[in-house]
């Protein structure tokens, strides 16, 4: 991989696309090195290192667009891919929404470490294995992955945009099940990403708390009835549900298709005033932030939903042009759901009957926001107290209705490195089992 010059390659790809007839062009490159330690069945079993590159070239001609990506960077391969991208564009149909980002000041950014500390990775993981074996002897680590990834990314287009960013990050993921004789808990998992290994891996995300819960979840039973009750979403579940909000209400597809129930609600109150969701790739609050968006804009922090009011849809350039609605200036990632001012313990105390849900195993929500699924690794709450862990219990509701009726957002929140998320409490959920 000697001689890899991403800026030069991106510029060369754009020049080639223009030279063969494209009227606009863009190129995105990435080069990623990953070092990864794997635990399977509780034992450290594999050390894996990978190197890969990706070069994606997009040709535009008369409003037509075609894209080709390859993972070779010799001149012949780039030339061939450029010609194929141009051929794809010529085969397509014109669409006035196809475009590239406008001229911006060139930029170069670096964040995080650039090289892994392999010995420190081993020591951190070995410490975690020792900790889990001694603290949670009933809990088996099905799989853990500690990796360090360093990625160089480059973007260039024919409007004289040139960005590049180098970012290094450690990521840790743990998946576990507890056993008591022949009784098993449901598996659970969590993970996080940080720029250093200073903090013990057990304290990344919600891993330690979920392992504690897992150890007491080997014998569960359903709620035993069907009722309408409250639901507290853990930060891990809230991450899933915020993705659901995206897919149903905020995403390119939801808006272009016209299926989003919020398509005419920009600037209006759509959720509870307790709910604020920001996208902050640049502020430094999110370690896994980024400098520019995939469609070639400098990323700017923004509020997506501010105290329940819809500020931005999560639209890229094409969807923005297609729908006439404003592009999301942040690119939509690096999410923060702002904490509230009520301690989690007080939120639980407020529930007359409901479920504290730590994992949601459910289908994708319908286009109208209806969701249903199984409350995994979860607890029954009655009269303000956690009663017992539950199994074979289903929850069903509507996303907008649930988040519109939120009664509390916790003071505590979890920093996953890629997102910061609290617990939330709402009602009107159909619970059965």
């Amino acid at each position: 991989m000697n001689g890899f010059d991403g800026n030069r390659l991106a510029a060369t790809a754009v020049e080639k696309l223009l030279a063969i007839g494209a009227d606009k062009a863009q190129a995105s490159l990435s080069r990623t090195e990953k070092s990864e330690l794997n635990v399977d069945g509780g034992r450290m079993s594999l050390y894996r290192t990978t190197v890969n590159i990706s070069i994606a070239m997009t040709a535009f001609t008369g409003g037509r667009k075609g894209s080709v990506s390859i993972n070779r960077y010799d001149k012949a391969s780039i030339d061939s891919a450029a010609e194929e991208a141009f051929a794809l564009a010529k085969a397509a149909e014109p669409d006035a929404a196809n475009d590239i980002s406008p001229k911006q000041v060139h930029g170069s950014w670096t964040r995080g470490p650039q090289k892994p500390d392999s010995d420190a990775m081993y020591e951190s993981l070995a410490e975690f294995l020792d900790y889990s074996a001694s603290k949670y002897p009933k809990t088996k680590l099905e799989q853990c992955i500690l990796d360090f990834g360093c990625g160089e990314s480059y973007y260039a287009n024919s409007n004289d945009v040139q960005f590049n960013e180098t970012a290094g990050l450690y990521s840790f993921f743990a998946m576990f099940t507890s056993k008591d004789g022949e009784a098993s808990s449901s598996f659970n998992y969590s993970g996080a990403a940080h720029q250093s290994l200073k903090k013990a891996l057990k304290d990344w995300g919600t891993i330690d708390e979920l392992m504690r819960q897992s150890a007491e979840q080997t014998r569960v039973s359903s709620v035993g009835s069907s009722f309408e009750g409250d639901l507290i979403l853990s930060p891990d579940c809230l991450g899933d549900f915020s993705s659901f909000l995206d897919s149903v209400y905020l995403s390119d597809y939801a808006l272009i298709s016209g299926n989003s129930p919020w398509k005419d609600k920009l600037g209006k109150q759509v959720l509870s005033p307790l709910f604020s969701m920001r996208s902050e790739p640049q502020s430094g609050r999110i370690e896994a932030g980024y400098a520019y968006t995939g469609d070639g804009f400098l990323a700017k922090d923004c509020s997506l939903i501010d105290q329940g009011r819809l500020e931005y849809f999560n639209l890229g350039l094409y969807a923005s042009n297609k729908t006439g609605k404003e592009r999301c200036p942040s690119g939509g990632g690096a999410r923060i759901i702002e904490p509230g001012n009520i301690p989690l313990a007080d939120m639980i105390a407020e529930v007359k009957k409901g479920v504290l849900m730590s994992r949601f195993s459910g289908g994708n929500p319908s286009d109208n926001g209806d969701f249903s699924g199984v409350a995994k690794n979860s607890y029954l709450i009655e009269n303000g107290k956690i009663i017992r862990p539950i199994g074979e219990t289903m929850v069903a509701g509507n996303l907008a209705a649930f988040f519109s009726g939120l009664r509390a957002v916790s003071k505590e929140s979890i920093d996953y490195g890629s997102a910061i998320l609290p617990w939330v409490l709402g009602g009107g959920i159909h619970i059965s089992g």
């Binding site: 894209s67 299926n259 289903m394």
Partner: protein
């Protein structure tokens, strides 16, 4: 094309090594309300080497640089790095080594290609194919508020050599057409989708667009019925799971629990060998490449550890008979490796994965099975499915019908079904005499990979989510 000359390399990387050259080529076209929103192609190719030393693995991968001369140095560097990674981990003497002896060996020698022999279609022709389908939808289904038609093609080409003598080549393509419709009912969007296609390149899977029109008519009719549909009643019900659901059940709720790495990680199947886990009507097999005399959706003759692939009979007439293994787990449990180690891309290590998992057909007729239910549900299509180590499963249901008095009734709105598979399978009271494979199955387990899932219709009891 077979990448020649790999067989000489693995022995130079240590006592045991695998060398794989792999190229994945993918393309996607997507049309949303008549606009072509995706028109992309991509290719990823490279080399990987995995070595085994003192009970631990080292793995390394690099993209292919572009010429045969450069390839040699990349293979050599990748092999050295993999061996170095294994030495690094072995030097730490990690606890819990699974296998201190040699890995078992059953080297596969195979050369299987499903490359089309027909002239290849151009991108313009593929776009015209989608345009014909879209025009038909626009003309005939006036009530749609949105429509999406996507074509995804994936060719996976692998050449593999191992130090224990495996020498294998495969070219396994898959072509999937996905059509999704949405209508508005009382201001709410109601959607339904269907997937068509399967093993083979486009030219071998699809002919003329007119051949698909009747299938689109069925999809539009089902959506119209669903838009006027009802929510099911929550609770335990008599149900019939059609073949799509039976296939997902076989894969998600049973197949994952018997993957030997999950067995070691605490799966409930660890205690189920040779026990009753299902009705005697239920037999379940993970097929390697051929089932009932025909190629499976994802045929595997030699897996990515170089093992000659064989069928794994997981449940035989209700009794659990085997788990799914890689070389290491097979040695640990004293079993034969089944050829279930698979990797998605050149930079992925082989994991224990299913291949083509299906419940075997029985002897009942579907219409008799429906007639035998006084009050229940008939579920046909799932949006997704998940299961865990307890065999508790959840499937999102996007198409289903009430059964009333032994007859099909109203369509259902989206719902979820759940249960504990090893309990639920004991309630199976009928299995239909036909079976079909689902199209486009993907399995996520660190890496996402194509799988086959199939089955007959089964009648059983399970928990239905609902709103009342």
């Amino acid at each position: 094309m077979i990448y020649k000359g790999l067989a000489d390399w693995p022995k130079s990387f240590g006592d045991y090594a695998e060398l794989r050259f792999q190229e994945n080529t993918a393309s996607r076209l997507s049309m949303l309300n008549g606009d072509l929103i995706a028109n992309v192609k991509g290719g990823q190719s490279g080399f990987s080497v995995r070595t085994f030393k003192d009970g631990v693995w080292g793995f390394a991968s690099s993209p292919r640089p572009g010429s045969l001369e450069l390839d040699k140095s990349v293979i050599e560097e990748t092999g050295k790095k993999a061996a170095e990674n294994a030495r690094f981990l072995a030097s730490k003497k990690p606890a819990g080594i699974l296998l201190k002896s040699r890995l078992p060996s059953r080297p596969g020698i195979s050369n299987k290609s499903f490359v089309s022999q027909k002239p290849r279609k151009s991108q313009r022709e593929l776009i015209e194919f989608l345009r014909s389908l879209d025009s038909y939808c626009q003309k005939h289904y006036k009530g749609l508020s949105s429509r999406t038609i996507s074509l995804s093609c994936l060719d996976m080409e692998k050449t593999l050599a191992t130090s224990d003598g495996a020498d294998a080549y495969s070219f396994t393509p898959r072509t999937i057409l996905m059509v999704s419709f949405t209508v508005e009912e009382k201001g709410e969007p109601i959607d339904l989708y269907e997937v068509y296609g399967g093993l083979g390149q486009f030219e071998d899977v699809f002919a003329e667009p007119e051949h698909i029109f009747s299938k689109l008519d069925i999809l539009a009719d089902n959506l119209a019925r669903k838009s006027k549909g009802v929510y099911p009643k929550a609770g335990i019900h008599d149900v019939i799971l059609d073949s799509d659901l039976a296939g997902i059940l076989a894969h998600e709720a049973i197949g994952h629990t018997v993957e030997a790495d999950l067995v070691m990680g605490g799966s409930v199947a660890a205690h189920a060998m040779d026990r009753d886990v299902a009705s005697p009507l239920v037999s379940l097999v993970d097929f390697a490449h051929t089932a009932m005399g025909e190629s499976c959706p994802v045929p595997v003759w030699t897996d990515d550890e170089g093992v000659e692939a064989a069928d794994a009979v997981i449940i035989d007439k209700g009794i659990m008979k085997s788990w799914l293994h890689n070389k290491e787990s097979a040695a640990h449990f004293g079993m034969l490796p089944t050829g279930n180690a698979r990797a998605y891309s050149f930079q992925d290590e082989p994991l224990i994965r299913m291949r083509n998992t299906a419940i075997l057909p029985g002897s009942s007729k579907l219409e008799d099975m429906i007639a035998g239910i006084d009050k229940g549900y008939y579920f046909l299509r799932s949006s997704n499915g998940q299961a865990d180590s307890t065999s508790e499963f959840m499937f999102g249901i996007v198409l289903g019908f009430e059964i009333k008095g032994g007859k099909i009734g109203d369509a259902l709105r989206d719902t979820t079904i759940s249960g504990v598979a090893f309990d639920m399978l004991k309630t199976v009271s009928a299995v239909s005499d036909d079976m079909s494979w689902s199209n486009g199955g993907m399995c996520g387990k660190k890496q996402s990979i194509p799988v086959g899932m199939g089955g007959p219709a089964i009648r059983c009891k399970l928990n239905v989510g609902g709103r009342n």
